[in-house]
């Protein structure tokens, strides 16, 4: 699976090479989308984490053992199915193929399971029928 997660670090944990351990110890690929150190030397990082389901859960356990607070990005994509024109424009920017052109008749489908809530499609949708909402 691939999910977007938010990691929160304290002053102590931020200095350790914890994220690196995700790919060293587990069969996981991570990609940091954003990272910031806040005034009191606390820090957070938003990243996507990808790998087999089992490895993914082990990785999350490992992060928790390292005293990192882990939150899944609480957003989900929503599409107004009646409004979609099935033009396909959004499929160019979807990193996970959650939006894809389906079968012989080529309707554009959305597989919310695959969506990592990156928001790319929200920007490019030609009829503004996609939105992200916080769960």
């Amino acid at each position: 699976m691939e999910k977007t997660i938010i990691l929160k670090f304290t002053k102590q944990t931020w200095r350790k090479p914890i994220i690196y351990g995700l790919s060293k110890n587990f069969d996981l690929v991570f990609n940091i989308l954003e990272a910031k150190v806040l005034p009191r030397q606390e820090a957070y990082a938003i990243m996507s984490l990808e790998g087999p389901d089992e490895e993914y859960y082990k990785g999350i356990e490992y992060l928790k053992e390292c005293n990192v607070i882990v939150e899944e990005v609480p957003e989900q994509i929503q599409r107004d199915e009646d409004s979609c024109t099935h033009c396909g424009t959004c499929t160019a920017v979807c990193p996970t193929d959650a939006l894809f052109v389906d079968g012989d008749e080529k309707w554009v489908r959305l597989d919310t399971e695959k969506c990592v809530a990156c928001g790319n499609c929200v920007q490019v949708c030609t009829v503004q029928c996609i939105s992200l909402f916080v769960i």
Partner: protein
């Protein structure tokens, strides 16, 4: 087998008596492949085509009626989108790509362009009220200098879709060989030729099924935005001299048509305002044309398949904007439609911008019109340039 020859009149007579055999363009392709063009020409009377995509050269001609005291409008806005008012007193034209007056455009790049002329047209068709504001300099016969009112479509004495260029016969496949993402009228193009965007209904597309405009001409009755419309002339940039393959099919953007139809007969599903990130505004237009199978040649033409239709791969980072005319290669619609094609030693992901599924829906709806509602064919009164 004797040669097949049918006239428009004969086919229309069959439609009226409910005996016409009508196939959609994809069904016809299968039949021609199976039985050959001669047998198909004998069997089939009409083939219906369809396309649904953003067609920028579109707009609506509106007359908003006289109020008292009367006004000769000089400047007009519909929901704050400027309309052209350089006609008689209360005639205006609203273009699909016109942004709302306060739109930040591309000042923060890429601009979002949430609302424009296309959306005004969509709102009218959807039955929503649209605010109309007009200013004028005032004359003895038209003293009023200001006018404002909310109109729904049914309140307008006259409102027609009047599109100077629709239904392009083939179109480029756009790639971006540059180093950064670009935002074009063919969508978002990632650097290094990572994706190829295309915009044609291919084997369903009207003019690709009648490559020499033998049956499509001025006076052809069409499906336009869910209502009935007509071809009124050849469109702007109509170019019948574009390169053609042995099958007669153009291998580059070629013919276009100008069309017209009553907005009041149209359906929201087939007329939609469009926003293209970083580019601007447009209008999704659903358009379908019935093609009479007059003879074997028309059966062969309508039997075309995606794999027989080729188009040019063009670099939109340099060659298109600079007009160098350089072409990087060719690709056919079967490859494009498959989602991937090989180019320059790498796999390119394709993105359709014209909806094949909606095009199919339109071709099927048009078939239903002919079969159930006895929609007859318009006989072209003037042929388009390039007719053979």
């Amino acid at each position: 087998m004797a040669e097949v020859r049918k006239s428009f009149e004969e086919i229309n007579e069959k439609i009226r008596s409910g005996k016409a055999v009508v196939l959609t363009a994809d069904e016809m392709s299968e039949l021609v492949e199976e039985k050959g063009p001669k047998a198909a020409a004998k069997e089939v009377d009409v083939v219906t085509t369809g396309t649904f995509g953003m067609m920028c050269s579109s707009g609506a001609m509106i007359n908003f009626g006289h109020a008292t005291p009367k006004i000769k409008a000089s400047h007009v806005w519909l929901n704050d989108v400027p309309a052209y008012a350089g006609f008689a007193a209360v005639d205006i034209y609203i273009g699909a790509t016109e942004p709302r007056e306060d739109d930040p455009l591309n000042r923060v790049h890429p601009g979002r362009f949430p609302y424009g002329g296309g959306h005004v047209i969509e709102d009218l068709v959807a039955g929503k009220e649209v605010n109309l504001r007009a200013t004028a300099y005032g004359t003895d016969c038209y003293p009023s200098k200001k006018f404002e009112r909310d109109f729904a479509l049914q309140d307008l004495p006259y409102a027609v879709l009047l599109n100077p260029r629709n239904a392009y016969q083939n179109y480029n496949c756009a790639v971006n060989m540059g180093e950064k993402t670009i935002y074009t009228y063919l969508g978002v193009l990632k650097p290094d030729g990572a994706n190829g965007n295309y915009c044609s209904a291919g084997q369903l597309s009207p003019l690709l099924n009648d490559p020499y405009y033998r049956t499509i001409g001025v006076g052809t009755k069409i499906f336009l935005g869910g209502g009935q419309g007509a071809v009124i002339w050849h469109g702007t940039q109509h170019n019948p001299a574009a390169e053609r393959g042995e099958n007669g099919v153009t291998r580059a953007p070629a013919g276009t048509i100008a069309v017209m139809g009553d907005l009041k007969t149209m359906e929201h599903r087939y007329i939609r305002g469009a926003s293209m990130l970083g580019y601007g505004l447009s209008l999704f237009v659903g358009l379908g044309i019935p093609i009479p199978i007059l003879d074997e040649e028309m059966a062969r033409f309508t039997g075309i398949r995606d794999r027989d239709i080729f188009t040019k791969i063009v670099d939109y980072s340099v060659d298109y904007p600079q007009g160098t005319g350089k072409v990087l290669g060719e690709v056919n619609y079967e490859q494009l439609r498959s989602g991937k094609f090989k180019f320059n030693g790498r796999e390119v992901d394709t993105t359709p911008l014209s909806s094949y599924s909606m095009a199919l829906e339109i071709a099927r709806e048009l078939k239903r019109w002919i079969e159930e509602e006895k929609f007859t064919l318009g006989v072209p009164q003037i042929q388009l340039p390039g007719t053979r």
